[in-house]
């Protein structure tokens, strides 16, 4: 056993542990949510209703997190194949009977609520892979690598078909994280990357027009300043004009004059960067990094392979969302519809995110069975 695990096995469990709450993680998440509310008040044009709705969603999200934290990781491991199968079935259903919203078929209308099965898959795939790979020797052999590849690519292909390329890539990422963490050889990683690079031009052939436009405008945003490049041009202007100290809360001209598109959702970071400047960004990144560090620490301390792989994949996915969102808004990456975790307005992604934090807390607070 490593030293990292030893401090953890103290017999006296405090109240937080009895409630299965990880206080450092909770603190980080609460602080991020507070920043989110602050910037949404400005980005939403000081609309109290919008703020209230967001606060309500956050409350529900935190509630869900605490509920999931009560589930012993053992149960999660047992449920993994069922959850994965269900998510897969729903993805097929969405392609067959899904609702169209903004030109893509992502939603399943269950009468009472509308539901995005790809969100469930964000959790189901890491669960499934962590269970599958964690059961046997690590690193996995060729056969298990192939099965893992199939487990990853089937849902990714289904989601890309909706079409929702952004989510498909994120889910691909969460699967690859499990593989990476499971210790596959770096040589295999290198060969995989090479194959992906070769396949990229062929992917182009299968892309939708709007996806091609996004890529082209990413390469040269000025090519179409009023069309597809408008979002990126305006958000980089917002970020850049914020400078070191920012224009001050509620004083972002770019956001108040309507120049930042989607400014409460995917582009909320541009509003934040414009109003709080580099100082504010540093603060935000430190908060994000603190949460990620705590997540990775939980992964390091985890008692078995399943929980290690699961915790690591979940927190790396969280990091990926942050990187992709900020990268996109600042013009470093092409535009993919990924919200900024805990800051962007919107409910669906928040639910998934809080559920994954619930799992992290469960992994860290439930008593470990001896190996």
């Amino acid at each position: 056993m490593t030293t990292l695990e030893s401090d953890y096995r103290t017999p006296a469990r405090n109240l937080a542990q009895k409630l299965h709450v990880d206080l450092p993680l909770l603190t980080g998440l609460l602080l991020l949510s507070a920043v989110g509310l602050l910037v949404l008040y400005s980005a939403g044009g000081q609309d109290p209703d919008l703020l209230l709705r967001h606060a309500l969603r956050l409350t529900l999200g935190f509630g869900l997190m605490l509920m999931i934290a009560q589930v012993p990781p053992q149960r999660l491991q047992e449920a993994a194949p069922w959850v994965y199968s269900a998510a897969l079935a729903l993805l097929v259903a969405v392609l067959l009977f899904g609702d169209h919203a903004k030109g893509a078929q992502r939603w399943l209308d269950l009468g009472v609520i509308r539901f995005q099965p790809s969100e469930l898959m964000k959790l189901a795939l890491p669960l499934m892979l962590a269970r599958y790979l964690g059961q046997r020797r690590l690193p996995p052999g060729a056969k298990r690598l192939l099965v893992s590849g199939a487990l990853i690519l089937i849902p990714v292909a289904l989601i890309a078909e909706q079409p929702d390329l952004g989510t498909a890539l994120l889910i691909l990422g969460s699967g690859l994280f499990v593989l990476l963490l499971s210790g596959i050889r770096w040589r295999i990683v290198g060969v995989g990357a090479l194959l992906a690079a070769i396949a990229a031009p062929f992917m182009w052939h299968f892309m939708h027009d709007y996806q091609r436009t996004r890529l082209l405008t990413f390469i040269n945003p000025e090519s179409d300043p009023l069309g597809a490049g408008y979002h990126i041009t305006q958000s980089t202007i917002a970020i850049g004009s914020g400078g070191v100290f920012g224009k001050g809360w509620l004083n972002g001209t770019q956001s108040y004059l309507d120049f930042i598109p989607e400014r409460t959702t995917d582009f909320v970071f541009a509003v934040y960067a414009e109003e709080f400047g580099l100082i504010g960004i540093l603060l935000l990144l430190i908060l994000f990094i603190a949460v990620i560090a705590r997540g990775l620490y939980i992964a390091l301390c985890a008692p078995d392979h399943f929980t290690r792989l699961l915790a690591g994949s979940l927190i790396l996915s969280f990091s990926l969302y942050i990187f992709v969102n900020i990268g996109m808004v600042s013009g470093l990456l092409p535009v993919v519809g990924v919200p900024l975790p805990l800051i962007s307005y919107g409910g669906t992604a928040l639910v998934t995110l809080m559920a994954s934090f619930g799992m992290l807390m469960a992994i860290h607070t439930h008593p470990k069975k001896p190996v």
């Binding site: 056993m1 020797r137 994280f177 210790g183 001209t253 580099l278 390091l300 990187f323």
Partner: protein, 620 residues
């Protein structure tokens, strides 16, 4: 295979695997940090190294979409005389985003150009509705002097700009006020009804008359311009432009010469004249006197001017031609006579003795003839040409109100005429069923008697009287009146005629009944004892007409009406209907002179002037 591994081997393997996983987790941590640093580097590049560049872009970056309002279509009369046009005008617009202190700016501006409280009120309302990057109109129609003064002081007013525009103008003023109508500023009610982007650049909308009815034709389609402006709001360049499509022009059936002649002929009297072309339903003239200057309303009427119009005794805003409901009086007689013929109650030979009064059997009350001494024995022709009341008292009594109602309804009495102008009233054609419904009373026989001479409950608008006269001229063929003759594309000048759909046709059992009535109406104009023989004299064409004199207040039994003894506003209304030439009618008209005294004296001469003008003067 695993089964043979010893417990310690398995443990050692597990520990090795755990270490591998933990190493990978640490490697991932390093990767995450690297990515975060990449982000930070990008943000430092944007916010520190290039802040100046982006700040400039943010300040100068004002790409806005500006609507280009279409040019409103022009309106011409039948001879191409321009009735409604667009004049260039200059207004003052404020871009709120670029003004630091709106209140101070308004105060300072008021020193240079006159800004009324109404302007400010409207400005504040618009301010709430529009986005701050869009200009908000503060003043319209700057005078040349104001324009020059503002141009000199313009540097003091960032965010305030002169905008060139056009304003609607009615060069003939009052002559077209009632028929053409006018445009006015779009109100909030209008906005609710429109609710579409086609009006996003438009400030005015048709409020009355043809301007209202044909709004969708006249307005055109909005255009858009994507412009880049600097931080002061001045245009730098146009990025994209979709031109507006101008509204289409209207060509009216109206003859403005006839219209103005009717106005002159009415003089200081209040009244209305409607002239139609019987064959087509074309509205040749639609006059309501007194008129008003429609230009007053275009850019918001001053409360003082509005009060003056409201309080004027002549009620100039009241469209008498469409909304004035008068007793048709003796002008109803040809139609009642036709009913008598068609329903077999009378014929061309039958005479009635007129002693100067009529009494219902078993009733005391005497119904007087307008000629105190009576007309003696009169047949249907004399009854019409000399306008004998007693003949029609008798006829109405024998027809009964409901049969009379049903026959007259075929002509359109008591119904709107379906003309292409808003606001028309229906008049009133009474029946016993109507009275039970509206008044909750039974119909009295005496009411039938006076209905026979177009008094009592019966009401008709001047337009309606012209319409029924046209139907008579057409021998039963009814056509809805039309103000607009054709719609013209302003670019290609292609005209599309708007013909009027025929309404019902009144079928008589014998067509010579039309001849009996029309001949009697010719006798009104040209007969030795015709009531309007003065107005028929010397005509080179044959006219059919009928006079009418509507009582404004009731006389007591045996009381004699003396024009000179009653106040002017209680004097009888003068009515006259006519069409000509009789063999091939080209014009049918109705004239009403309020408090004019008698139809023959006040109304018929006006009609004669119009007919002479229309039938004898060649078009320019």
């Amino acid at each position: 295979m695993y089964a043979r591994i010893s417990e310690s081997d398995r443990l050692r393997d597990y520990i090795r695997e755990t270490r591998l996983l933990q190493n990978r987790t640490l490697a991932a941590a390093v990767m995450v940090l690297l990515l975060m640093f990449a982000l930070l580097a990008r943000l430092i590049y944007l916010q520190v190294l290039n802040q100046e560049h982006y700040l400039t872009l943010a300040q100068s970056n004002r790409i806005s979409v500006v609507a280009i309002p279409p040019t409103r279509g022009l309106i011409y009369d039948r001879n191409g005389v321009l009735l409604a046009r667009n004049l260039p005008t200059f207004g003052l617009e404020v871009i709120p985003e670029q003004v630091d202190d709106i209140e101070a700016t308004l105060r300072a501006l008021n020193q240079i150009v006159a800004i009324s409280p109404a302007d400010i009120k409207r400005f504040r309302r618009l301010l709430k509705q529009k986005r701050t990057t869009h200009g908000v109109m503060l003043r319209l129609r700057l005078s040349e002097e104001e324009l020059a003064r503002f141009a000199v002081n313009r540097p003091q007013f960032p965010g305030v700009d002169i905008v060139a525009g056009v304003t609607r103008d009615y060069p003939l003023g009052a002559s077209t006020a009632h028929a053409v109508g006018y445009v006015g500023r779009i109100s909030e009610d209008d906005l609710d009804q429109l609710g579409d982007s086609n009006y996003s650049g438009t400030t005015h909308i048709g409020k009355t008359g043809v301007e209202h009815t044909y709004e969708d034709v006249l307005h055109g389609t909005v255009g858009f311009e994507q412009i880049e402006t600097n931080s002061q709001g001045h245009r730098l360049r146009v990025l994209e432009r979709t031109p507006a499509q101008p509204g289409r022009n209207l060509h009216l059936n109206m003859d403005i010469r006839l219209q103005q002649l009717a106005e002159q002929a009415l003089g200081d009297n209040s009244g209305a004249v409607v002239a139609l072309e019987p064959g087509t339903g074309a509205v040749l003239a639609l006059v309501s006197q007194p008129g008003f200057d429609p230009n007053l309303f275009v850019n918001g009427i001053e409360p003082r001017d509005y009060q003056a119009l409201q309080n004027s005794s002549g009620q100039p805003l009241y469209n008498r031609a469409l909304r004035g409901q008068y007793p048709p009086a003796s002008t109803i007689k040809p139609f009642v006579a036709l009913a008598g013929l068609e329903l077999g109650v009378t014929d061309a030979q039958r005479s009635t003795f007129c002693p100067g009064w009529f009494r219902l059997p078993g009733h005391e009350r005497k119904y007087r003839d307008w000629r105190h001494e009576g007309h003696g024995a009169v047949d249907i022709t004399r009854a019409i040409s000399e306008s004998c009341d007693v003949y029609f008292y008798d006829l109405a009594q024998r027809l009964g109100i409901d049969r009379l109602h049903n026959f007259l309804a075929q002509f359109g009495f008591g119904q709107k005429s379906a003309m292409d102008a808003p606001g028309e009233l229906a008049g009133l054609l009474p029946s016993s069923a109507w009275k039970r419904g509206a008044r909750k009373e039974a119909w009295f026989p005496g009411e039938t008697i006076i209905a026979g001479i177009g008094q009592g409950y019966m009401l008709a608008t001047p337009l309606q009287l012209a319409v029924v006269t046209a139907a008579l001229a057409n021998r039963g063929k009814r056509i809805a009146p039309r103000i607009v003759a054709a719609i013209e594309d302003p670019l290609t000048h292609n005209k599309v005629a708007r013909s009027s759909a025929p309404l019902n046709t009144i079928q008589l059992a014998r067509s010579d009944r039309w001849d009996i009535i029309i001949n009697a109406m010719v006798q009104v104009m040209h007969g030795e004892r015709g009531t309007a023989r003065g107005s028929g004299a010397g005509a080179t064409y044959k006219i059919a007409g009928k006079t009418g004199t509507a009582q404004v207040f009731g006389l007591k039994q045996d009381e004699k009406y003396d024009k000179d003894k009653v106040a002017p506003r209680l004097r009888d209304h003068a009515l006259f209907i006519a069409f000509a030439p009789v063999d091939n009618p080209r014009i049918a008209l109705a004239v009403i002179v309020e408090n004019g005294g008698s139809g023959s004296g006040a109304a018929a001469p006006i009609a004669r002037k119009l007919m002479d003008q229309y039938l004898l003067t060649p078009a320019p």
